[in-house]
């Protein structure tokens, strides 16, 4: 093959590789965030978490909520605060009310603060990222079941779980059921 054409093909292949690399940066970023606990992403569940005799240690978990872009939601935690023991399963709930006169589609993002302890906070059941249909003036209770890993460093005495509620009717409104 002509040398010039060979250079051309090699460089074109490199270009395509770099385009792919830009998409590879997405999972790389996710892994990086998981390792460093950035963005308050919570850890994954496994069966060894529950222990028969929880250690005599108490951690305060506070619950907060936000609504993005003044969407017509009333969104608040059922309990503002719980005192829990690592290694035990707990359940609590958030209340979501649609204050408008039409059905809306809502979705929530969770976040743990401080971020470096996020991996020790495991959610067994959670309404995050699911698309909730909520009809006009309806109120829903959304359950959260969680466990705090017993390996939580001893200096951590309180954690905050925050949920941010988004109105995604504009983007995904076609999914609404009549």
């Amino acid at each position: 093959m002509n040398k010039k054409i060979k250079t051309y093909y090699l460089l074109t292949a490199f270009t395509i590789f770099m385009f792919g690399f830009s998409y590879m940066l997405v999972p790389i970023y996710e892994v990086f965030c998981e390792i460093t606990g950035l963005n308050g992403k919570t850890g994954s569940i496994n069966s060894t978490l529950v222990i028969e005799k929880p250690v005599e240690r108490f951690v305060r978990v506070q619950f907060t909520s936000n609504v993005i872009n003044s969407a017509p939601f009333k969104f608040s935690p059922g309990k503002k605060e719980m005192v829990i023991q690592p290694g035990k399963i707990y359940t609590t709930f958030y209340t979501l009310t649609n204050q408008s006169n039409q059905p809306l589609l809502a979705t929530a993002n969770p976040s743990i603060t401080p971020g470096k302890y996020a991996e020790y906070f495991k959610k067994i059941e959670c309404f995050c990222f699911t698309h909730q249909q909520i009809n006009a003036n309806e109120t829903k209770e959304l359950a959260v079941q969680f466990i705090v890993d017993k390996k939580l460093p001893s200096e951590a005495t309180s954690l905050v779980l925050a949920y941010t509620m988004f109105d995604i009717t504009k983007q995904l409104g076609y999914k609404l059921e009549k």
Binding site: L11, F14, Y23, L25
Partner: protein, 522 residues
């Protein structure tokens, strides 16, 4: 060989079709440079709208939304429409002449990479007339803001795809030319510095332009196809866009400056009548700057909330870049040391480049220090910094290159007195424009705002006066170019007494097809 060349000579078309169908590197270089000059004035006009609005506090001339469109479009047009085409145009004209090649390696591809540009820029410019206006979220296109704009977004994204494609094709062509078409005897370490800097720049382009394409494609699918790369409601992360964008963005700023380094490394030895000091170290310094550019990106986003280790890493690597850059600056100064210097217009622009680029480099070093960057971030200090490295940096180098090689390209000598007048006006006004921006920035004036607190009024007024002076000085540049082409004063083949290199062995202007027989390099 000769018959082949004669045949080609007769073959080339005349009139408009010559320019549309041309595959000649000289023609394409000229096209690039003319497009760049046009876009320089379009982008400049937008800058003057920005400066006119900022002459006084309060809103006088334009509404804030249009102001934001102007800051966004000014940056996109200056980067992708003015500077990059200018540098590629210089590469097209000079690289074959400097390495003794008859043309670029892939001439038809070359035609394409130019002719994509006017259409891409036309698409980008047309968004100004859309309902909702042009993109207005800044040239960095950060989500979520950019996703909330009007219908301009998909147009802007497609035009960025095309502009990137044009740059990539140009870069592939440049690498293929340099690696395969050097005259016998011209080893890599004998290549002129301009060729070296472009070789490295072309690799940077191929490495990062596709990443920008990927990032803007993700924006597009987030907006129209329900993906959630950056949409928080779907579990995406807007900060990730900043990481991907600056993974492209930081090498991009070196793409804009490395060929300028090459130009300065050509002009300084010519007018000092000495060889370039430390050629080898110049090559290694350029390569180190290029490599380091891939691991410093997050210094553009120190305030997003990175772990401490990350902030320290990006601070240290950023400061490390000052070392190879310092090597270059010291080499230029050492080249002039005890040289028989004369001060023709290209040399004046190059000297101003060294002084003013170094000022821009130092303010960059200040911002590399993470704790103080929290104060400087998104203020006019950063505006002053990057305008110091891009205007009296890259733009001055392009102007110097045009004065330096114009007599070779056209066979006609420009008016030296007018050239010097242009230099002094430009240099004085560029400082009046951008120096006060350091002060308002340090005092806390944010960038990208149409209105500001009254204590910033005086410096902003000075800056605006400077910018209009700078604009008028460039009209003089237009006149000088026009006068050069219209007059009869011819330039001899060597043009400059101290000039060295293969391009000066050709007649001025060089024949349409040059170096059909490769020259021998000792």
């Amino acid at each position: 060989m000769n018959t082949d060349a004669d045949h080609l000579h007769e073959d080339h078309k005349t009139g408009i079709m010559r320019w549309i169908t041309t595959t000649n590197h000289k023609d394409i270089g000229t096209l690039y440079l003319f497009l760049s000059l046009t876009m320089f004035f379009v982008g400049g006009a937008m800058a003057l709208i920005i400066r006119a609005e900022l002459f006084q506090p309060g809103l006088q001339l334009v509404n804030p939304d249009f102001f934001n469109q102007m800051t966004t479009m000014h940056a996109l047009i200056m980067i992708f429409g003015a500077l990059m085409p200018a540098l590629v145009g210089l590469a097209n004209w000079q690289i074959p002449l400097m390495i003794g090649a008859p043309d670029m390696a892939l001439p038809r591809l070359n035609n394409w990479s130019f002719w994509i540009l006017p259409f891409a820029l036309g698409m980008l410019g047309s968004t100004l007339f859309f309902e909702g206006g042009a993109p207005a979220a800044g040239w960095t296109l950060y989500p979520p803001l950019v996703l909330q704009g009007g219908d301009a977004l998909p147009y802007a994204i497609f035009s960025i795809h095309l502009l990137g494609l044009s740059s990539i094709l140009g870069a592939i062509n440049i690498i293929a030319t340099i690696l395969n078409m050097r005259a016998p005897g011209m080893t890599l370490m004998k290549m002129p510095m301009f060729v070296w800097t472009w070789l490295i720049t072309a690799f940077l382009l191929i490495a990062v332009m596709p990443v920008l394409a990927g990032a803007v494609t993700m924006l597009l699918t987030d907006r129209f196809f329900g993906t959630s790369f950056f949409t928080a409601s779907g579990g995406g992360d807007p900060v990730m866009f900043q990481h991907i964008f600056w993974f492209f963005g930081h090498p991009e700023v070196y793409i804009l400056i490395l060929p300028a380094f090459g130009v300065i490394s050509t002009i300084i030895p010519t007018f000092s009548r000495k060889k370039l000091f430390g050629y080898d170290s110049m090559v290694y310094a350029t390569a180190s700057i290029a490599l380091l550019s891939f691991i410093v990106w997050a210094h553009h986003m120190f305030t997003v909330g990175m772990p401490l280790a990350g902030e320290i890493f990006f601070m240290m690597t950023t400061m490390l870049i000052a070392v190879p850059t310092g090597v270059k600056v010291f080499n230029w100064i050492a080249t002039m040391w005890k040289g028989s210097m004369t001060f023709e217009t290209p040399m004046l622009f190059s000297l101003a480049f060294i002084v003013l680029f170094t000022i821009g480099g130092f303010s960059g070093l200040m911002m590399a220090i993470t704790p103080v960057d929290f104060q400087y971030h998104d203020t006019y200090f950063i505006v002053a910094h990057f305008h110091y490295v891009l205007v009296p940096g890259s733009v001055f180098a392009v102007i110097a290159a045009v004065y330096f090689w114009l007599p070779k390209w056209t066979g006609k000598m420009y008016d030296e007195t007018l050239g010097k007048t242009h230099f002094w006006l430009t240099t004085i006004f560029v400082n009046i424009t951008f120096f006060p921006q350091h002060f308002v920035g340090l005092a806390g004036m944010p960038r990208r705002i149409p209105d500001y607190a009254v204590q910033f009024t005086d410096f902003n007024a000075i800056s605006t006066i400077g910018s209009f002076g700078f604009g008028i000085a460039q009209i003089l540049f237009l006149y000088i170019l026009y006068k050069t082409l219209k007059q009869d004063v011819t330039a001899d083949n060597k043009v400059w007494e101290g000039a060295e290199g293969l391009e000066w062995t050709l007649p001025s202007p060089p024949p349409y097809h040059s170096f059909e027989e490769p020259p021998k390099v000792e």
